[in-house]
C-alpha cells in the first residue's frame, strides 16, 4: 500500500486533499468528498486494506457534515473523509461495503437524523423506538456554528478576535472551502 498511488486515486474521487500534521491533529489526511462519491471512496479504501475506524456527524450550518475515519493496519495512515448531507438530510450508505458501518449509520441516524439511503435495517440502535425523531445531538439555533468556524484556522501569528460569523448561506460549501484551503 504505497501512499502516493492511493493519493492519486483519491485525486480522481475527491474535491480536496489536505496533508495534516499528525502530531498536531492526530490524523494524516483530510479528504473532502462529494456526497455521491462516498460509496466509490469506501470501495477504494476497502480494496487498499484500510479498516473503518468510525463514522461521525457534526452539526454545522450549511449542512450536517458526516466524517468517515479510516486507518491502515500495516502503515500508519489515518484518513478523515468528509461529506456534506443534502437538503433532505440523506447520505448513501456504505454498510454493504463496510458492514461495521451498519451500526455507526444507525447510531448517526438516532443522534443526528441523517437518513442513510439503502441501509438494510435502519431502526434506532441506541435510542428506544419511540424516540426516533428525538435527534439529541443537533445544536440549538444559538449554538449552531458555521463550518468555517470549526475548521483549523490557517496559523497566522495572532488570530484576530473573530467577530461572530453570521451564517452566510453558501451555495457550494466544499468548493468555497477547498480553494481557500489548498
Amino acid at each position: 500500500m504505497d501512499i502516493n498511488k492511493v493519493k492519486g486515486q483519491w485525486q480522481k474521487l475527491s474535491t480536496a486533499i489536505e496533508d495534516v500534521d499528525y502530531s498536531a491533529s492526530g490524523y494524516d489526511y483530510s479528504v473532502s468528498l462529494e456526497r455521491d462519491k462516498v460509496r466509490d471512496f469506501a470501495a477504494l479504501m476497502l480494496a487498499e486494506g484500510f479498516y473503518l475506524v468510525g463514522l461521525m456527524a457534526v452539526h454545522v450550518t450549511p449542512a450536517i457534515e458526516v466524517v468517515y475515519q479510516f486507518a491502515h493496519v500495516e502503515t500508519r495512515c489515518r484518513v478523515m473523509a468528509r461529506a456534506f448531507v443534502d437538503e433532505q438530510v440523506e447520505m448513501p450508505t456504505i454498510s454493504d461495503i463496510y458492514q461495521g458501518a451498519n451500526w455507526h449509520e444507525r447510531e448517526t441516524r438516532d443522534f443526528h437524523g441523517v437518513v442513510f439511503v439503502g441501509h438494510p435495517y435502519l431502526e434506532p440502535l441506541i435510542l428506544p423506538e419511540e424516540d426516533v425523531d428525538l435527534k439529541p445531538l443537533l445544536k440549538e439555533e444559538a449554538k449552531l456554528k458555521d463550518v468555517a468556524a470549526v475548521r483549523r484556522q490557517p496559523p497566522e501569528p495572532a488570530p484576530e478576535p473573530k467577530a461572530k460569523p453570521e451564517p452566510k448561506p453558501e451555495a457550494k460549501p466544499e468548493a468555497v472551502k477547498s480553494q481557500e484551503q489548498s
Partner: protein, 375 residues
Amino acid sequence: MSIDVEVLEDSRHHRYVLNMGPQHPSTHGVLRVLLELEGEYAMELLPVLGYGHRCHEKIAEFKPAKSFMPNTARMDYLGALIYNQGFAQLLEKAAGIEVPERVEYIRVITSELNRIQSHLLWYGAYLLDLGAFTPIMYAFDDREHILDILEDVTGSRLTYCYARVGGVSKDIDDKFVTRTRAFIDRLRSRFPMYEDLVNGNIILQKRLIDVGELTPQICARYGITGPLLRGTGVAYDIRRAEPYSIYSKFDFEIPTETKGDCMASFLVRFRELEQSLRIIEQALDGLPEGPIMAAKVPKKLKLPAGDYNSSVEAPRGELSYYLVSDGSDVPYRLKVRTPSYSNLSVVPEMCRGMLLSDVVSAMGALDLVIPEIDR
C-alpha cells in the same frame, strides 16, 4: 466452526425466538441479544443496545472540556485510566501543552496496570461463562493487589479520575514502586498455575478451538481491533503502530495467533499480561524525577478551532477520541470511538448457525463491556 445447517426455505416457521438478556448471567452488562433458534442452533442474532445509554457525548457539549474527565472513566470502567490518558492526550494535543517526562512514565505505568487488571477480570468472567467457578477467584485474588496499588495513588478503585490536562493529580511514591515490583514477581509466579488449571485443560480447549473464527478481512470490514484482530495474525497495536506517549522507548512484543478463533484471542490476551509486566518493569527502571504537572496550563483551557483525533490502545482494542472545537473551551462535538462497539457488531455474522453454548463462549471471547458500547 459455524455449522452450516442447510436451512430449508419454509423452515422458518418452526424456529422460535429466545431472549438472551438484558438480565442474563453471561452478557457482561445490560446487553440483550434476540436469538432465533432452531433446536439449539442460533440461526439469527440481533443484539439490542441502548439499555445503558447515558449520552456522554451530549454532556461533553455543555461543560468545559477538562471537566469531562470523570465521564471518560464511566465509559469503560475496566480501562478507566487508559480512557483518562487518551482524553488527556487529546486536550494536550489540541491546546499544544508539553507534558513533563515523569508524567508520561506515571501514565504508562498506571495504564499498563489497568490493562492487566482488565485482562484478569475478563479471564475470570470468561471462565465463569464456560462453567469453571474457581479460576475467577484466583484471578480476582491477583486483581485485588492491583486495585490496592492504584487506590493508594489515585484514590479510587474502579472509575479513576487521575489524569489532568498537562499532568496527573497525585505523584507516585516509593511505596507504590516497591508494591508494584512485588506484584510483578507474584503474577509471574502464578502463570504456571493458570497454565495447568485452565489453558491446558482439554475441556476448555474443546470449548474454544474452532469456535467463532475471524479473518483479517472480516476484521477490516467490521473495524475489529485489539486482541481479536491480533488473534487473526495481524500484529496491529496502537502502542506500536502509532506510538503515543513514550511507548516507543520500551521494547515489548505484540503477541499474535493465526487461527482467529476464540482460543486465539484467549491466548493473545493471556500473553499480553506478560508484555504489560515487561513494560511496567522497564518504566519503573527508567522513572525520572521531575514535576507532575506541566508548567503553564491555562485555567480556562481554550482549544484552537479545528478537529483533533487521539487514538489509544484500550484493553479491548482501539479507542479514538475525535474532538471538533470552535475555539471556545467547550467542545463543539466530541465523538468517542470505543472498541467493543465494533467488536460486538460482528456477532450476527460470526455466530450464525452456532450452538447456544458456542454463542456464549464466542461472545465471551469478545470481552465486551456494555457501558462503552451504549455510551
